[in-house]
């Protein structure tokens, strides 16, 4: 079987909450809306575990569209995505600083 293509490590798992649509990040055994709490997988086994968790949660109708996002771990342990799209997703609309996670979590 061909190897599954994953983004480079370290990674976090991102998805949308099915019921509310909010962007959520995987933590140990669950999800958080606060990206600062996101579980960072630093090795292949941890990344695989995150991916498996996402697939299970999708099947169990908790989340939609789970996928891994490659990050750098910045100041205070905040995972910062390498791609600008995921950075925007982590913050909220750049034209409305009063909305999205940037407003909810004041960063």
């Amino acid at each position: 079987m061909a190897a599954v293509k994953r983004p480079p490590l370290p990674v976090i798992l991102v998805a949308n909450d099915l019921l509310e649509g909010d962007v959520v990040y995987a933590v140990a055994g669950g999800w958080t809306r606060d990206p600062r709490q996101a579980l960072v997988a630093g090795d292949e086994a941890a990344a695989q575990a995150l991916e498996a968790f996402g697939a299970t949660e999708l099947r169990q109708c908790k989340v939609v569209d789970p996928y891994l996002v490659d990050v750098q771990v910045g100041e205070g342990g905040l995972p910062v995505p390498r791609h600008y799209r995921e950075v925007l997703r982590m913050h909220g609309p750049s034209v409305r600083r009063d909305l999205g996670k940037q407003a909810d979590f004041d960063y």
């Binding site: 019921l19 509310e20 649509g21 109708c61 609309p93």
Partner: protein, 556 residues
């Protein structure tokens, strides 16, 4: 305005109940996301970058005050206090929760609105000239046929699962303000020169997106009673012959391109011949019933000129600018169609707060026979305003941040939501629009430049119509960063044209300066009375490209 009959009412209510049940089944796990996705899309519900997004149909852009107030109420209770008017005359809410959508649909049904077919591979909301019924250059009001098409295409059993989406636009005016040549089908009301009979010219195969195509004439003249049977033939040929192997090649424009307009005409005519019979003609009684809803309101008999407005203009330069740019000549003496710009300098194009929606609703009710229109340029029109009332309306608009006198000018920028909201986008659009509006904010500069359109899309799907902007801006990803390709010479109107590329992509911060250089070429080389697009056609691409290159070279 059209009002629902018992069938419309029942159909919309049944659809709300059906979607509520689908949501329940999704939440219980009876439906997988894969199964649910096409069902939610058929009800206008997307999953975007930050949240769900709900797209509400505004048929041919027409709204009455009660509907606007209900939209404001939904924005406050179920969203974040604002909505976004789109380039297809619809409204989008950016933050609804799935669990609330059935309740929102119920509130919409209360005011004869819905989200049916605002997404998915079906016939979408029919769009129309936003000055329908009031434009001085109009031959016949196209809204009755827009409504007829809405009824025909809503839940049409044969066309519910097309190969790809299908967009129809209609106009009855000399000047094309509905962008017919960008649509899968364009319908223009015309008079047959030989018989003087009124009917339709049918265009087909236009589109923007990754493969822009110019719509072509399929039928020069179609008798009016044949409209639905002929379009049924068009849709049937498309449904059967259009490609389904590749979603990027599944629009009717690709079919027209691949087999040619003559071949598709032959197929449509063959199909039409099989369908055509008096039994399948538009029922004249039903058409008359629909048309009666669009009868002109009870206008007063007024003089052509308003002394009151003239005196107010003389005393208020800002009002004078508003009158110059935001009023459109009405077919009724003493009246005007007044455009409220949703492009205040530095704001997101097309966004309106719930408060602003209520303000517009009040104005529509008090001054415009309870009617407002959404334009594909993301502005709002009050279509039946007495010239005498313009000063009072402007005073309210100015106080509410809605009095920007920039319609048709360089800061009246059309922009899709881009990567600030959209999951498909490759770059942001709104900040680029904001920076450009601020760059060209000086009213004197805007007036000097004159008619000028900038249209911005955040990906190749072209919701921001960049191909047909005098200046088009396309946001892409280049080496892990946002990059903006700029085109010149696009035109959505009678002289329809797709823009040509000026050069390599630029980072966002250089876009205003690059456009400044292009504008400078125009200002220095224009002839008296010549608009930007006219000067471009005369001068050609070369001088603009050379000016652009100076900026592009700086980042190369």
């Amino acid at each position: 305005m059209y009002r629902y009959d018992e069938f419309d009412e029942r159909l919309v209510r049944e659809r709300v109940a059906q979607f509520a049940s689908q949501v329940e089944r999704r939440l219980s796990g009876a439906l997988t996301e894969e199964e649910f996705r096409p069902l939610r899309l058929k009800n206008g519900l997307y999953l975007q970058l930050h949240a769900y997004m709900l797209r509400i149909a505004v048929p041919y852009g027409t709204l009455h005050a009660r509907q606007l107030r209900q939209l404001a109420h939904i924005a406050d209770v179920y969203d974040r206090g604002y909505g976004h008017f789109t380039t297809r005359q619809n409204l989008q809410f950016n933050w609804p929760k799935l669990k609330d959508v059935p309740a929102i649909l119920g509130l919409l049904a209360d005011v004869e609105m819905h989200c049916i077919q605002t997404s998915g591979n079906c016939i979408r909301n029919v769009t129309a000239d936003h000055f329908s019924g009031v434009a001085h250059d109009e031959f016949e009001d196209p809204r009755p046929i827009a409504e007829l098409l809405r009824q025909w295409s809503s839940l049409h059993p044969e066309f519910e699962w097309l190969g790809r989406k299908f967009k129809i636009a209609v106009t009855g005016a000399t000047q094309d303000r509905a962008v017919l040549k960008s649509h899968d089908v364009g319908v223009r009301i015309v008079r047959d020169p030989a018989t003087q009979q009124v009917g339709y010219q049918i265009l087909i195969g236009g589109g923007l997106g990754r493969t822009p195509m110019v719509g072509k004439v399929l039928r020069e003249f179609l008798p009016r009673e044949k409209l639905l049977s002929y379009l049924e033939a068009v849709l049937r040929v498309y449904n059967l012959e259009g490609r389904r192997d590749n979603k990027y090649k599944a629009r009717i424009k690709i079919l027209v391109h691949e087999i040619g307009i003559d071949a598709i005409r032959a197929k449509v005519e063959e199909e039409f011949a099989a369908i055509d019979s008096p039994r399948n003609d538009v029922d004249p009684q039903e058409f008359a019933r629909i048309a009666a809803f669009f009868a002109p309101p009870a206008y007063e008999s007024l003089p052509d000129v308003s002394r009151k407005l003239e005196q107010a203009q003389a005393a208020d330069a800002e009002l004078a600018r508003f009158v110059e740019h935001n009023l459109f000549r009405h077919k009724q003496r003493g009246y005007t169609a007044l455009t409220i710009s949703l492009k205040p300098i530095g704001q997101a194009p097309g966004d309106a707060t719930s408060h602003q929606m209520r303000v517009i609703a009040d104005l529509a009710e008090k001054y415009s026979f309870d009617e407002a229109r959404v334009t594909h340029m993301q502005n709002i029109v009050l279509p039946h305003v007495r010239l005498d009332d313009v000063p009072e309306i402007f005073a309210v608009l100015r106080a509410e941040g809605l009095g920007t006198p920039n319609v048709g000018l360089v800061t009246d920028i059309l922009a899709c939501p881009g990567l600030d909201y959209c999951a498909l986008a490759t770059a942001r659009s709104i900040p680029v629009a904001q920076a450009l509006a601020e760059h060209f904010a000086d009213p004197a500069k805007q007036k000097e430049i004159g008619d000028f359109s900038i249209k911005i899309s955040g990906c190749i799907n072209a919701c921001g119509h960049h191909h047909i902007g005098n200046i088009g801006i396309l946001g892409l990803e280049k080496k892990g960063a946002e990059s903006y390709q700029i085109t010149i010479g696009g035109d959505p109107g009678e002289n329809y044209a797709l823009g040509e590329l000026l050069g390599p992509g630029l980072p966002a911060e250089l876009v205003p300066e690059a456009i400044d250089r292009v504008v400078a070429v125009y200002l220095s080389q224009r002839e008296p009375g010549e608009s930007f697009i006219e000067a471009y056609r005369r001068l050609g691409l070369a001088p603009f490209k050379a000016a652009f290159k100076e900026i592009a070279d700086a980042v190369a």
